[in-house]
Symmetry: C2
Subunit: 371 residues, 2 copies
């Protein structure tokens, strides 16, 4: 009996990341590896230091290649929702950091067909339209336009399908049945899809005409796609992609993964100030049931969504973060103020994001790959 | 126990076309329907009159639509071999006739990925290269360049994949497992593929922005793909394609289907005169074991590959064909002469074909759809 479940299609229950490491067969990022990455980057990354990115596959190998003079590129992506959430930011912010520190090219897949294939209520035309909205949100995070490419799968399907079939030849129904829990009633598009998601892990090599290492920062629920890709790509002569796994940003109600289909407990990048204030005000904290008790007994930052949001995204400074967590712990900040401060931070970020996004209007061609 | 098997992947045993009609649930072309088609076409088609095209799905419906003012288009295709055979000509010659008589637009799919997915010895790059060779052979049959489009799947995959996923959403593994005999060990590209083959049956409607009837002449081994397509397309708002089923041109050894992987018993469009003479000279006939016996007892045209080639392709004139069959039957022609005459006919056709193909060099852009 499992008390939680993590698949690309659903995250349920209280996720035990230690158990996931064992179950998926990934490595916890060691202290030595963390330091090595920091040294090569020239600075630390708070998401790695804090264990938000907590596991990897072959990151050490990737750094070996880097030290041997082989630059890597970064690949990540998002299933299009048209309403990106704060939770979606995590892998993109890591990709951006890797670009800044290692000069890595970044390629981003927005698989508009995936959700429409996997969910009965999602139409292809809607998913396609929403994908452009997401592309703008991603580009607005500040990627280097000279070194970043985004594509929406059906706009780039000539390139993707032509290479996906080469990968698909080495993937049987048994393999995806076991890996994804597919059944005989699963549709053949969903069965094929993982081949499409694998292609960008070879595109960088195809482009250069020689093997180029690829690093994929992702939420650990996506790991299964690349377990398969890592089996197949060497058969076609390509490097296995290296992976950097993140935990999930929790929902405002403390559930393990913020979900774009749960509006009340989710902050969208498109939320206005008032919506953010209202939602954050309903967030779960680790505080006692009354202000009096909280002042006396203090709270538990581990149970506090507000603290998590600071930790994941909104307080990169470790000393400042420690002060916030300490105030929660010792009862010197009450829930109301705690939430008000976070809402302010989020709104500052979103206001900046909206204006950056606005500046990209009519300029997305610079980023988009289209066949 | 079945004594023969007909699938898109293999034709084995002695094919009983009557049994196939029952098994596949298609209709034998009735005399009334044959006459109706002849009347609307303004002339007869010897391949229909002789039962080479012997069965259909919804041909009557298609003619209803035609009489109601809805022009149909024709879709057919070929898995690329790079070495087209006489057997491959049958559906293309029907497509050409339909174009001439009904002004039908013809679209031709050359699925370069299919064989590479389905056969372990076939590489994608080779299949892709060979596909161009086939495209030239097809165009050289004399299609109207203003009303005919060919595409090689991976060159047109943006269009195809974008629409294939919409179809794929309605096709489960169970469906293709039952229809094609796929197993858990079948690769996911092959499992998905039938969705790609279905797309051209809706492309004509997509192009016009309204439903356009589609007629697909094909070897009956391909029917299974369109049993599925006919289930799915109405769910997306499209007409079911109508189908016209042909028998197979036998091999020179009398086996039920000429196969491009059996060079001795196959005439390729690229064969030179001497190769044709030599191969035809080894063909099976329905004649007696000695010239003396043949003169005395006569032979059986039904067992004679030479007679079949006249019937399928090389003697459109019914009276002349009857004379040829009669000479076989009554012993007045001996195998050597019979074969020499056929080889001459084939060589005349091929010599003309080669020069038509040559004239297309550098001009294939007129025919090709590329994303």
């Amino acid at each position: 009996m499992e008390e939680f479940s993590v698949t690309p299609y659903e995250v349920e229950g209280s996720v035990d990341y230690d158990k996931l490491i064992a179950k998926f067969g990934v490595e916890r990022i060691s202290e030595a590896l963390r330091k090595r990455l920091e040294k090569l980057a020239g600075s630390s990354n708070f998401m790695i230091d804090r264990g938000i990115f907590f596991a990897d596959r072959d990151l050490g190998w990737l750094l070996d290649r880097y030290e041997a003079g082989e630059k890597f590129y970064v690949y990540t992506g998002i299933a299009p929702s048209g309403r990106m959430t704060l939770g979606h930011l995590v892998p993109f912010l890591m990709a951006k950091w890797l670009q800044e520190k290692f000069g890595a090219k970044v390629i981003i897949e927005i698989p508009d067909e995936e959700k429409a294939l996997a969910r009965s209520g999602v139409e292809f035309d809607d998913a396609h339209r929403l994908a452009y909205e997401d592309a703008m949100d991603i580009a607005a995070l500040g990627f280097d336009e000279k070194n970043t490419k985004l594509f929406i799968n059906t706009d780039y399907a000539k390139t993707l399908y032509t290479n996906a079939v080469r990968i698909a030849k080495h993937i049987t129904f048994s393999m995806v049945k076991d890996a994804f829990g597919f059944r005989n009633e699963t549709n053949v598009g969903t069965i094929f899809y993982t081949s499409m998601q694998a292609v960008p892990a070879m595109l960088g090599s195809l482009e250069r005409g020689r093997n180029v290492p690829c690093l994929i920062p992702l939420g650990i629920d996506q790991d299964v796609h690349f377990r398969i890709a890592r089996d197949v790509l060497p058969k076609l002569g390509y490097y296995k992609p290296a992976i950097l796994h993140s935990k999930f940003l929790p929902g405002l109600d403390g559930r393990p993964k913020m979900s774009s289909s749960d509006p009340k407990n989710t902050i969208y990048l498109s939320d206005n100030e008032e919506a953010v204030r209202k939602k954050v005000n309903m967030a779960i904290t680790g505080q006692q049931s009354t202000a009096e008790l909280q002042k006396k007994l203090g709270g538990d930052p581990e149970k506090c969504a507000v603290c998590k949001y600071y930790t994941f995204l909104f307080e990169p400074d470790d000393a400042k973060l420690e002060r916030i967590l300490e105030m929660e712990r010792d009862g010197s900040i009450l829930a109301g103020e705690h939430k008000k401060d976070l809402a302010k931070r989020i709104n500052e970020f979103l206001s900046d994001h909206v204006s950056k996004k606005k500046r990209l209007e009519g300029k997305m061609d610079r980023f988009m790959l289209v066949d």
